[in-house]
């Protein structure tokens, strides 16, 4: 009864706390385990609100974590493991959206922003450089200023 309650709580309510990898899931090979943790952080927990399977304690998340490790032991590389899960759950399960026609806008926009910033920076540099003499007075202007100052000083003395 208690077990049912626990499982119900875990599966039917949104997982409240997370911290999910269990000691019995950990692979003996630390390199493989590190890859497993890394890949898990890139996979979305499909029953949770915006968590990865590495940090969710939902039942499905645990199954997927075990599946990832199984595939790694079989010798898949990182991309193959991700593709394996993706084949069964769709692109939605990838937290890092792949670069495809449908996500082109997503990935290109930040790049476009960066380009705009660089361009704008360059334009500022060029535009203001083309007005070199703006704050240097010409010879007549210098003379005018001298006359003015003299007149002011003369005026002040009276």
């Amino acid at each position: 009864m208690f077990r049912i309650l626990v499982i119900m709580v875990v599966l039917l309510l949104p997982p409240v706390s997370a911290y999910a990898v269990e000691p019995d899931e950990i692979l003996p090979d630390p390199v493989l385990e590190a890859r497993a943790r890394d890949i898990s952080k890139k996979l979305r927990c499909v029953v949770c609100q915006n968590q990865d399977i590495d940090s969710s304690n939902a039942g499905v998340a645990r199954d997927l974590r075990l599946m990832v490790r199984e595939r790694l032991i079989e010798g898949d590389n990182d991309k193959e493991v991700l593709d394996f899960i993706r084949a069964r759950y769709g692109d939605f399960v990838l937290l890092n959206p792949p670069f495809q026609p449908k996500t082109a806008v997503l990935w290109l926009t930040p790049a476009a922003f960066a380009v705009v910033v660089l361009l704008a920076g360059a334009i500022i540099l060029v535009r203001h450089r083309s007005k070199p003499g703006a704050d240097v007075l010409s010879a007549e202007e210098e003379a005018e200023v001298r006359e003015f100052v003299k007149a002011q000083q003369a005026g002040n003395r009276t």
């Binding site: 706390s17 940090s55 890092n96 449908k102 806008v105 997503l106 540099l125």
Partner: protein, 665 residues
Amino acid sequence: MVPEMGHFALALALALALVQSVLPLIGVAKKNLLWMGSTRATSVGQLLFVALAFASLMWSFVVSDFTVLNVAENSHSLKPLLFKVAGTWGSHEGSLLLWVLILVVFGASVSLFGSNIPEAVKARTLSVQAWISVGFLSFLLLTSNPFERVFPPPPDGRDLNPLLQDVGLAMHPPLLYFGYVGFSIVFSFAVAALLEGRIDAAWARWVRPWTLAAWMSLTAGIALGSWWAYYELGWGGWWFWDPVENVSFMPWLLGTALLHSAIVTEKRDAFKSWTILLAILTFSLSLLGTFIVRSGLLTSVHAFAVDPERGLYILMLLGISICGSLALYAWRAPMMEGGGLFKPISRESGLMLNNLILAAATGSVLVGTLYPLFLEAVTGEKVSVGPPFFNITFVPIMLPLIFIMGIGPFLSWKRSDFKGVLQRLKFVAVLTVLATLAAWYFISGGPVLGYVSIFFSVWLFLATVREWALRIRLFELPMATALRRAKGLPRAAHGMTLAHVGLSIAMFGFIGSSIWKSEEIAFVEPGSVVSIAGFEVTFNGVERVRGPNYFAERGSLSVKKDGKLVTTLFPERRNYPVAQSSTTESAIRSTLAGDLYASISEPSSKKARESGQWTLRILYEPLVNLIWVGSLILFLGGGVSLSDRRLRVGAPRPAVKDAQAVPAE
């Protein structure tokens, strides 16, 4: 009786808001000082009534009046008093009431304390502020009435989500809202300026204290939320790029840009269009945040009541305010006179880059947050945009800004001697490279990004300190003289130094805790020992304990270093029977060097459970507390700037007596 009083008070506040949205504008058109000055009465009146409404709701929570639906759904008689009080703003209706309260607080403050602002500007600004009040008050009264009654009252409440029963989280909404809503007043100033058709340096000066106050609150609110997530959610993370986090971060990014852009407008009468646009966009993003959290549009751990009908109302409010103000901007902004010229290498160009980069960063976060919605609308397909995307796009855009932040304070207005600046920074550059190499040598096992980030953080820290030292000529003059110079500096200068240093310190925290984090996970039984980061942690067993509204299994961990007992940690697994959920309470040992972060849980594996074992997880997060320390210093930097006398003293009026010379910058 009390709830009805509160309800009626809201209606009265709405009536006053309606008056305030129209009368002052007519007053400006007819040059009628009395009507323009009516804002004092109406804004203070709104404040009093909304405060009364807020107080009535809070009272209902404190006495556990379960005939009020909001109290019945979000509270419980056994809840500790602090959380009963915090329950006032723990729901959609209550938090919206808090939103409105802060809105009218700002309105009244401008009316009461904005003595240096010309009457016409104040009148227009407060009218615009009143339009926002009308929008939100009507939203409250028509769709989200916090005072709705329920008969017969349930014997007890449904209790607040146990995750939210926490001091840090109780304070998070008020601080955040002070930030969000604080930007509303800057928005109002901006729209008022557009209505008037001009903006000048004085405008920027009036706007600065309000911008600073809002920015400070938002900084604190975000940091607090992050800190809460760190110690409450149980896996040592402090930022997840969750949509609701993103919608609080975006106004902060643009608000920072606004703060800096306004400085240029004030000092050089330039960047006017930028500043106005930033003022409008910052508040628009705040409104967007409010909308996204309450409408059920996106999935998120944070989302409030999911109700498309309310969402539609807010969307209408959003549409009118944002599209309206941006249309006004499109019409009026090109008429605003441009300002001072500046050379490519100058403080202005640095701040221009600041604006651009922060805008680009905000744009990236916005695209990432909204893309799933966009794609689903266009093709029906679902895609996830998670932390990997944001880390890949946000960080490379921001790092150049960190670099520029180091140089910026060295640049002078209008034109700067670049060779001189480079000369002054030579020493800093060398030190930074050395520090990075030292880090690479002594701290092993990090990715390249880690060392690159260290480079930028050290650069920012050293360059900022160097600029301050140069300004007071710290190493050239005797210490006493230098310190006297420091006292003579305008507070805003100290504010800048503090804020930039604070950011660099926080960056060290970001880097240490995310890149050099270590973790140990094991099945343990009494007597098991786990080693991590030089500590020996012994599991002593679990005992059952009781709290005010929960039961818990409390584990006991002895932490030793070099054989000596350093501390004992007590992580818990709590079960809240009324709310029917459980939480993990981690136990943390904090030092500046890092946090030891432990939690226990029941294993999934039947075998382990049956043999009485528990799953123990320990994280070691180096330097994580520097995040909070740095954020605090960032916050204080804003405060120091805010306390600058020049923000309170208006332009010297031609007076009979000699005006006191105000230290100019």
